[in-house]
């Protein structure tokens, strides 16, 4: 059968970007080749997902230069030749990347820079151990020697949590990437932390299951990473958060102890549920090395519809209606505002035609997944018909084949990349009561306009756009900029956090706190809660070697 390729498939597109980055900037050149060599050595797919695209770069400034108020803590030892000798004694050549002189530091850019190109550490050493035992040895040594460590998965983090701030050693889980076991009866998957999410999902699909979490960075992010950061993603509405679906974790503690709860019972009511501590801890308590997770049966029928509505109120109305009428087959409900789609159009319209003829103030993407196509189709059709008749929905389309389905999703999934590709982006991912969800985007646009920062070049801000998971009360506010500037940052922070706090929302719905929001935890958590976190941290990581300078 002919392999049909009408749309420019994701991978081709990335190949183009890849070519572009090889030919353009000298700094990116090394990055790209590094990617290539990674590919050879570890079999990780290269042009997969958004994480692999790192093409629009200005040079990223060191975090320590951008934030001169933050100082390296002298309790941490500086890496010396003895330390290197030790690591060489326990690890093979492929498991160590070290640059001896500062001029070569760019070879490690891929590990030192975050995906948003906003933060950059100066680590000279990346360790990529192939076994849990080796990780245990490394941590034990670092703890004794007081060497600071940053655990790193796919490095697609959005708050600067997965890159060093100064010279912390990077411990990458790239090489710990085996599926350990899958039980098709219970649907429980056990795998190494470094398995790429998309690989895990593809593996499961072969066994008629899917990973209970899906997000834009799936082609790069790791299963362990999504657990450590408690990633939310596109399917949370249907399958719930990782706090529910993760059944067990294997964690290496700072002193080298391996703590495992991989036995995977769906019900286990014996004392403290310790694994929950590590979900969302962002690598500050230990390193997740293995994950046991409950997966879901693969839906037999999937439908995607892309709708247009007049205002944010209509978005809520459609949501209420969808919950009621689509009920158990509703698997995603995403909304996007006009500006976010305008940015995305600039970025992808050449390859992916926009589904609707006109532009509208708000768009909604609805996905249903179920077990019976005819049943789902008729449910969705009835729903859409009455939504159109009552004029809540003013325009829309429904995917007629798999290609259209994937392309419709692209209009939602490509927003993050589109809002950053013209320079940079300030990202806020907040939880707010549904009725106030979009008001944040409005007040931020007003604030930026009042400060005279918003508009055509040379004004720094292109637009503040809003989109997100209505189903979870989660808004992504992206402030697309032509460059990162202190002025813009001052206009946004702590204003955004104060606004969210005043509406009793959370300043981080799913991205976490990391480096970016380290000072703002108190907007969401109270003193007592923060103290308990600090106590735990002190108890399990007394030397503070795990991911320092971050939220705790």
């Amino acid at each position: 059968m002919l392999k049909f390729s009408r749309p420019v498939v994701k991978n081709c597109k990335q190949l183009l970007l890849f070519k572009r980055c090889i030919t353009n900037s000298p700094i990116i050149k090394t990055t790209s080749y590094r990617l290539l060599s990674n590919y050879k050595s570890s079999d990780t797919p290269l042009f997969n997902g958004i994480g692999a695209i790192r093409s629009y770069a200005n040079t990223v400034k060191f975090t320590s230069e951008v934030y001169p108020d933050i100082h390296r803590n002298d309790i941490y030892k500086k890496l010396n030749s003895d330390d290197l000798e030790y690591f060489k004694s326990i690890l093979s050549k492929q498991e160590i990347m070290y640059v001896a002189i500062e001029n070569d530091l760019q070879e490690l850019d891929l590990f030192n820079e975050d995906w948003m190109k906003k933060y950059k550490g100066q680590s000279r050493l990346v360790l990529k151990p192939k076994s849990v035992e080796k990780i245990s040895l490394i941590l034990n040594y670092c703890n004794e020697e007081k060497l600071a460590i940053v655990p790193q998965g796919g490095n697609t983090d959005l708050v600067g949590a997965s890159v060093p701030v100064f010279d912390e050693i990077i411990l990458s889980l790239n090489n710990l990437n085996q599926i350990r076991q899958f039980d098709p009866v219970s649907g429980i998957l056990k795998c190494d932390a470094g398995v790429i999410l998309e690989n895990a999902d593809n593996y499961l699909r072969e066994h008629d299951h899917i990973f209970p979490l899906d997000l834009g960075a799936k082609g790069s992010c790791h299963v362990g990473g999504v657990c450590a950061t408690n990633a939310g993603g596109l399917r949370l509405l249907r399958y719930g958060s990782l706090h529910g679906s993760v059944l067990g974790l294997e964690v290496v503690m700072p002193n080298g102890d391996i703590v495992s709860s991989m036995h995977s019972l769906r019900k286990d009511n014996t004392g403290y549920d310790l694994k929950q501590l590590f979900i969302g801890a962002e690598g500050t308590l230990g390193i997740i090395t293995g994950v046991s997770i409950l997966t879901q049966p693969k839906p037999q029928a999937i439908n995607v519809s892309f709708l247009a509505v007049k205002n944010y109120e209509a978005v809520q109305k459609v949501f209420v209606k969808a919950k009621k009428e689509l009920a158990e087959i509703l698997s995603a409900f995403e909304f996007m505002d006009q500006r976010s789609i305008q940015l995305t159009k600039k970025h992808i319209e050449k390859d992916t035609s926009f589904p609707l003829e006109d532009e509208y103030p708000f768009y909604i993407l609805i996905e249903t997944s179920g077990s019976n196509k005819a049943h789902d189709d008729s449910k969705l059709e009835t729903f859409l018909e009455s939504a159109m008749e009552s004029e809540i929905v003013i325009d829309g389309t429904i995917a007629q084949d798999e290609t259209e389905l994937q392309n419709l999703w692209k209009w939602r999934e490509m927003i993050p990349e589109s809002s950053q590709c013209q320079g940079g982006v300030y990202k806020y991912d907040v939880s707010l009561p549904l009725k106030d969800l979009y008001s944040l985007v409005e007040v931020v646009n007003k604030k930026l306009a009042d400060a005279d920062l918003l508009g055509e070049a040379p004004k720094p801000v292109i637009a503040a756009v809003g989109y997100g998971h209505v189903g979870d009360g989660n808004l992504h506010l992206n402030v697309a900029t032509r460059c990162y500037s202190k002025e813009v940052e001052r206009a946004l922070e702590p204003f955004v956090y104060e606004y969210v706090s005043s509406k009793h929302g959370s300043i981080s719905a799913e991205h976490g706190l990391g480096f970016q929001k380290k000072n703002y935890i108190s907007y969401t958590k109270n003193e007592q809660e923060i103290k308990m976190m600090k106590d735990l941290k002190k108890h399990y990581d007394p030397n503070g070697i795990m991911n320092p300078y971050k939220f705790i």
Binding site: L307, L356, E357, L384, G396, I398, Q400, D401, E402
Partner: protein, 258 residues
């Protein structure tokens, strides 16, 4: 003398091209149970082209019509064609899987009956990849044919058409007088999405059905080919990484390649 276009677009319902086809247990076809079916993507391009011709020169197009030959479910893809803006559709219902020659004969009969002067169709269906029907149809009708079109331009009087085709290493431009069969290639256009309101409007439209025995009594549709077996292609064994040249040499020797 100028004439108006009367365009026929034959469309086929096929296994969705994103789905990996699997050989069925009887080894006489692929598994279809529970699989998603869609319009043949090349046919979708033909539909889009017909719509574009109509939009650009409304006064020169009399009508656009889509026809499908197959099972009752083909109504779905025909309904989408209607929603996209095709003027009329019809379904020749049959549960048999017909060969390209039989399809071409049925289409030829229909074309003569309804006096179409342009047939726009996908260059091939992605399920059997035969790439026969368009050519056979042109031959049966004794019309000129322009296959694998990536650009279609009618002259001002709508009496002839210039078609750019994709060929090995470049492009070829043909010109032919109408009536004409054109088969479409990937680069011709990017099909549009179906508008929801239009889809709702055509939801309850009754799709006119034709029957082979009643409406095409003189057409012989017996299949001439006999499928012996359908099999998966042989899988290639994965490559291996070697440490050095010596190992390579010894492996090659083991395999009796040197």
């Amino acid at each position: 003398m100028s004439s108006k276009l009367k365009i026929l677009v034959p469309v086929k319902r096929v296994l969705d091209h994103q789905i990996k086809p699997l050989v069925n247990a009887a080894h006489d076809g692929v598994q279809t149970q529970g699989c998603k079916f869609s319009i043949n993507p090349f046919d979708d391009i033909a539909i889009e082209e017909a719509l574009r011709i109509k939009t650009h020169r409304p006064q020169d197009v009399e009508s656009t019509h889509a026809i499908s030959i197959g099972v009752d479910k083909c109504q779905d893809i025909l309904r989408n064609c209607l929603a996209k803006g095709i003027d009329g559709v019809s379904l020749v219902e049959t549960n048999e899987s017909l060969e390209p020659l039989a399809i071409a004969k049925l289409l030829a009969h229909h074309v003569k009956q309804q006096n179409y002067n342009v047939v726009l169709m996908g260059k091939q269906a992605i399920d059997d990849d035969s790439n026969n029907t368009g050519q056979m149809l042109a031959a049966l009708l004794k019309w000129p044919q322009a296959t694998n079109a990536c650009k279609v331009e009618f002259n001002d009087s709508m009496t002839s058409c210039k078609v750019t085709r994709e060929i090995d290493g470049g492009e070829e431009t043909l010109e032919a007088k109408l009536p004409l069969v054109i088969t479409t290639d990937l680069r011709l256009n990017q099909p549009r999405y179906v508008g929801l309101s239009k889809l709702m409007k055509v939801k309850r439209v009754k799709i006119p059905k034709l029957s082979i025995t009643k409406d095409f009594p003189q057409v012989d549709t017996t299949n001439k080919l006999n499928v012996l077996s359908v099999d998966e292609p042989q899988t290639k064994s994965p490559g291996i990484m070697l440490k050095n040249v010596d190992e390579l040499v010894s492996k090659l020797k083991d395999a009796k390649l040197i």
